[in-house]
Symmetry: C2
């Protein structure tokens, strides 16, 4: 039995009134909890020949870098616009107000390689869906998407499953 | 003998004319090079009781997450403004045009704990110096600052050493 949930700080009314922000920095700052979480996130994929972990800018980089090391894989950054220096593909996604985009280097993945998509938290799933589209443009095989935290009532994990993606998470928050 | 330098892609004229951008994503995407680099970056600190790795937003998160796992430490994010949900301290730093700031949660470090500061590359050292100031506000003991790439002619590593910080890097680029 893990105690990840007790290690995550909830900050009320951030970034806007009425939102309960799940702050994973408190979990990551705890050596035992961080190491255990990386182990638990990687365990289902240890014998699945993952050649790349794709982390979403920026908290997905923290988990993704550690998971790439643990799985003996390379790391692929999926980034906000203007951050990657080489040729990129771009996929837009919706925000509450307006939109943004996620970029990937066009040589970031090879056809048929096994990629694990990683972020700290899935809420609406918009960013993760943009990541799925980018990896599919590169013809990668997306083995799964892994998150520390799932907010299932917001629907992102269901949205990813409807795209044919296996989704796993360590912690679920429901209600308010 | 490592071949890290050959794994780093140079993108000319990015982000501006005349700049040779050192793109570490190609090294990170190579499983062997990534794993070896994390091992080499951690080796000097393996018996130094590092309790936290402080990574600089955002590429420092990739290395820092993996190094925290390797060293059995926690991870502390040093972030751009508006990204950390709890109370923060802020330290400004100069950019070529204008300025920016780095933030740290005020409970990010404890007095006297051993912290390793990490980023992918040191150029002017402005961001790293802001990181040093934040960690010192928290009264942490900064064991060293570790970078994948040093551009020593730009002076950042010298600047950090003048602040009393031990600096290490795996790769040095000089000239153009």
């Amino acid at each position: 039995m893990n105690n990840y949930k007790t290690k995550i700080r909830t900050v009320p009314d951030y970034p806007a009134q009425g939102i309960m922000f799940r702050d994973v920095t408190t979990l990551m700052s705890d050596p035992g909890a961080f190491s255990n979480a990386i182990g638990d996130l990687c365990r289902p994929f240890e014998n699945m020949n993952i050649s790349k972990v794709a982390g979403i800018d920026a908290r997905g980089f923290i988990l993704g870098g550690a998971m790439a090391l643990k799985l003996g894989a390379g790391f692929l950054p999926l980034r906000k616009p203007g951050k990657l220096p080489y040729k990129t593909w771009s996929e837009p996604y919706e925000l509450e107000y307006g939109s943004d985009a996620l970029h990937m280097h066009t040589d970031g993945v090879s056809e048929g390689e096994n990629v694990l998509l990683v972020d700290d938290l899935i809420a609406t799933g918009g960013t993760a869906e943009a990541g799925v589209k980018l990896l599919r443009r590169g013809k990668a095989d997306i083995v799964a998407a892994a998150f520390l935290v799932d907010l299932p009532e917001i629907g992102g994990s269901r949205r990813l499953r409807e795209l044919g993606i296996d989704v796993m998470s360590l912690v679920t928050f429901t209600g308010h």
